[in-house]
Structures are given as C-alpha cells and as structure tokens.
C-alpha cells in the first residue's frame, strides 16, 4: 500500500501544479448550477427543495470531467507503462488513484455545496455534519466506480462519450441514494436519511471491493 500513497501524492502534486481540474470544475460547476436553477425557475419557497437534485446532478457532471483527466494524464507520455513496469501491484495503483480522486472530488464538493446553498436559499449550517457524511459516501462510491471505468474509457475509441455512457446507468442507484439522503438530512438530520445512507454504504463497499479486484484485468494487457 506504500505504492498507493506514492501515487496519491504524485497525483495531488500534479493537480496542485497545474490547477487545471480545479479551475474547470469551478467554472463548469457554477455554470451547471445556474443552468439547472434557471431551467426550473422555482419560486423562492420552492427553491430549497431542488437543492439535493441540483447539487448531485452538478456533482456527477463535474466529477466525470475531473476523473477523466486523471487517466488522461497517465496516457500522456505513456506513464501508465511506467507504473506497470514497477513492482507495484495494480490494486495499489487503483487505491492510489481512487484516493486522489476522492480528494479532488471533495474539493469539488467544497465549492459546489456553498454555491448551491447560496443559489437556492438553503441554510446548510445546522445540518453540516450529517451532510458531510452523505457527501463523503457519495464521493467515495462515485470515485470507486468511475476510476475503474475511466481506466477503460481512456483506452477506447469514442473516449469522451464512453465514460458517461458506461458510468451513468451504473451510478443511478448512487444518485437516488444521495439525493434521498440529502433530502432527509436537510429535513431532519442524518437519521432522517437512514435507509438511503445504508444504500450508499452498500454501494461504496461493493464497488470499492469490485474495483480493487477488477482493476488488474483492465490495465494488464
């Protein structure tokens, strides 16, 4: 697992150096929030009810963008071959990449959540702890699944469209779970989102393990 840490640090360092993902996430995130809100054009009282859906839909699309980049950078200069010619286990590469994606997605959420609260008149402070847990669970599940499929998509022909095409159907239960849990948390704290949180936990565990086992089959030719 030391290899995973090394890879995590490397990815974070590259991201910090270029700040490419951060910039595009920020801009795209704001744009999507605006688009979704304007498309609904809700009454001021009805606006908060939209918050879970708008937040998570925006998260999914900006997340897809960020994760895609994570593997494009391994493709440049054939760096993935560098990783695979080392004694590091492919599963450790997976863990490192997922960890890096979780970190980057967390930053994404840190940007999107306050903005959503601002645009849709939602008071987030009282429910922050519970919300943070739901955000984390959604984050990890998304990262686990999309890291696996980004590795696939980056080696196919129709690269840009392939990742959303493969991921979105599989992510539907995550989306349902996070929206439901967020709605519950906003209404009455973590307990109110109970069932949904269980779904998210199951999702995270199943796909983290699946990704860990299957990643080697994706990267080893």
């Amino acid at each position: 697992m030391r290899g995973a840490l090394v890879i995590l640090r490397k990815d974070l360092r590259i991201e910090w150096r270029t700040r490419e993902s951060l910039a595009s996430v920020f801009v795209l995130g704001v744009l999507l929030l605006v688009v979704f809100t304007v498309a609904h054009d809700p009454e001021p009282d009805a606006a908060p009810a939209l918050a879970p859906a708008v937040l998570w839909a925006t998260f999914v699309f900006t997340g897809l963008l960020g994760i895609q980049r994570g593997f494009l950078l391994e493709r440049e200069n054939d760096c993935l071959a560098g990783l695979l010619s080392s004694p590091v286990d492919p599963a450790a590469i997976y863990v490192g990449k997922v960890a890096a994606n979780v970190a980057l997605l967390a930053v994404t959420q840190a940007i999107l959540v306050p903005l959503t609260g601002l645009f849709l008149h939602v008071d987030l402070w009282p429910v922050l702890p519970g919300l943070a847990i739901v955000l984390l669970l959604g984050n990890v599940g998304f990262a686990a699944l999309s890291t696996l499929f980004a590795a696939i998509a980056v080696r196919t022909r129709a690269r840009e469209v392939m990742l959303p095409l493969l991921l979105l159907p599989l992510l539907v239960p995550l989306l349902i779970g996070t929206v439901s849990a967020t709605r519950g948390v906003l209404a009455g704290g973590l307990a109110a989102g109970g069932d949904a949180v269980t779904v998210l936990l199951a999702f995270d565990v199943v796909f983290a393990v699946a990704g860990w086992l299957l990643f080697a089959y994706v990267v080893r030719d």
Binding site: I14, N77, S85, S86, D89
Partner: protein, 240 residues
C-alpha cells in the same frame, strides 16, 4: 545481482496478435548476461511489441518467455526490479520536474536513500541545470536522457530500449552512445531496437533482424557493419 549464469531473456516462439492480426509470429531470442543485442527491422516488424512483452507490459498470445530463469507468465511483480524499460515515450509526467519524476519512481521502487540516488542519476544524465524545470519544456535529447535515468534508478540487470536514437541530433546521439557503452562496461545486459545501422556497429555485441514478426537473421559475436548492412538488405529486400 545473483544467478549470473541465467540468461536475462530466453524467448521461445513468442506470438502476439492484435485483433487477430499477428504482429509477432514466433520469435526465438536469447540475451546472455553482459550482451548488447541490437534488434534491427523496418517499421511494423514488431520491435516495439517484442520489447513491451520483454518489459512485462504485454502478455504474449502464445509462446514461452523466461526472464532470468523465471517464467514470465507466473512471475511475481518483484521480477520487474531487474528490468528497466525505455519506450518511445518518456514515461515521465510532463508537469512535474525531472527531479520530481525520478523521486516518484524511486519511491515507487522502494529505493533506499532515494534523494542521493536521484541526484546521482540527474548528474549522470547531465540534467543538473534542468532538474527543477518541468519535463514539458525539455528537448528530445534531454527527455531521452531522463527516460534512461528513470530506467536506471533501480539498477536493473537488463535494459530494454525502444529506438532510443530516433529524433536525436548528432551530439545527443554521441552522448547517449557513451552512456550505453558505460553501462555495457558495468556489466548490464542491453537489448535495443533501432533502424539505424551505424549505431549498431559502435555498441552492439550481437545483432538480430526482425522481419514480419520473426527473427530473420541473427549474428553471433560482433559483426562488421558491412556484413550487417548486406544481411539487412538481403532479408528486407527479398520480401519487398
């Protein structure tokens, strides 16, 4: 560095197909310890594919491969410690500096006293002046030296180089040649692919010609450049 008598490479009937098309159609090749084997061949002969298989980056469709006496198909990841690979691309992250790239790989390989080793290799590659610049701004020659340094970090017994001289100006070629000669003197085994016949004369101890996925001609011992050139013309010329 144990088992000096085990050949770094013993390949037997290696076949590799891509989408049904055989790129390697039965390659038999051995590299003995301390040899520098030059793999010649036109584009499309399968040189890059063969090197990637030997670097354990690609699995053969069929055939047997033993590296240092160990069966490549079932080998533990640790076998990779004895192999260094320099491909067409640098395998280095464009946005990190040369030093950061080497540092990353040193940690990945678990090299003791990583910073000293990295500094040593930066000096060896002649990149002191550029160590803290991002790889993105490097010239082709600098990138090649960095790629070679990266491959040498873990002091592999076998070096695999895929067309290392392509795209280099004469000075850079001479610099790279010198480093390879140093490595040969130090006892490393090298297998390099090229379609530059001049380079073969200066460095190689043995030559093999790859054509249409097979070893069409191999010369034991050093061969004069003219012999190699003649053989190359014959082999490649016969099948236009």
């Amino acid at each position: 560095m144990a088992l000096l008598n085990e050949p770094p490479v013993r390949a037997d009937g290696l076949v590799r197909t891509f989408g049904g098309v055989p790129v390697l159609a039965g390659v038999d090749l051995t590299v003995e310890p301390g040899e520098v084997v030059a793999l010649l061949g036109p584009n499309g002969a399968g040189k890059s594919t063969l090197l990637r298989i030997l670097a354990l980056l690609l699995r053969p469709t069929s055939g047997r491969l033993a590296m240092f006496g160990v069966d490549a198909a079932t080998a533990a990841p640790e076998l990779r410690r004895r192999i260094g690979y320099v491909g067409h691309e640098s395998l280095c992250y464009a946005d990190l500096t040369a030093a950061e790239n080497l540092d990353f790989y040193a940690q990945l390989f678990g090299i003791e006293d990583a910073s000293a080793r990295v500094a040593e290799l930066i000096a060896w590659a002649g990149l002191e002046h550029a160590a803290r610049r991002p790889v993105r701004v490097f010239s082709r020659g600098m990138t090649q030296r960095l790629a070679l340094a990266r491959a040498m970090l873990h002091t592999p017994d076998l070096l695999l180089l895929d067309e290392p001289f392509s795209g280099l100006d004469p000075d850079a070629v001479a610099a790279l040649e010198q480093r390879l000669l140093d490595l040969r003197l130090a006892g490393h085994s090298i297998l390099l692919s090229t379609h530059d016949l001049d380079r073969v004369a200066t460095i190689a101890t043995r030559v093999a010609i790859l054509h249409r996925g097979r070893v069409a001609w191999a010369q034991e011992g050093g061969a004069p450049a003219m012999v190699v050139a003649a053989a190359y013309q014959t082999v490649i010329g016969r099948r236009a």
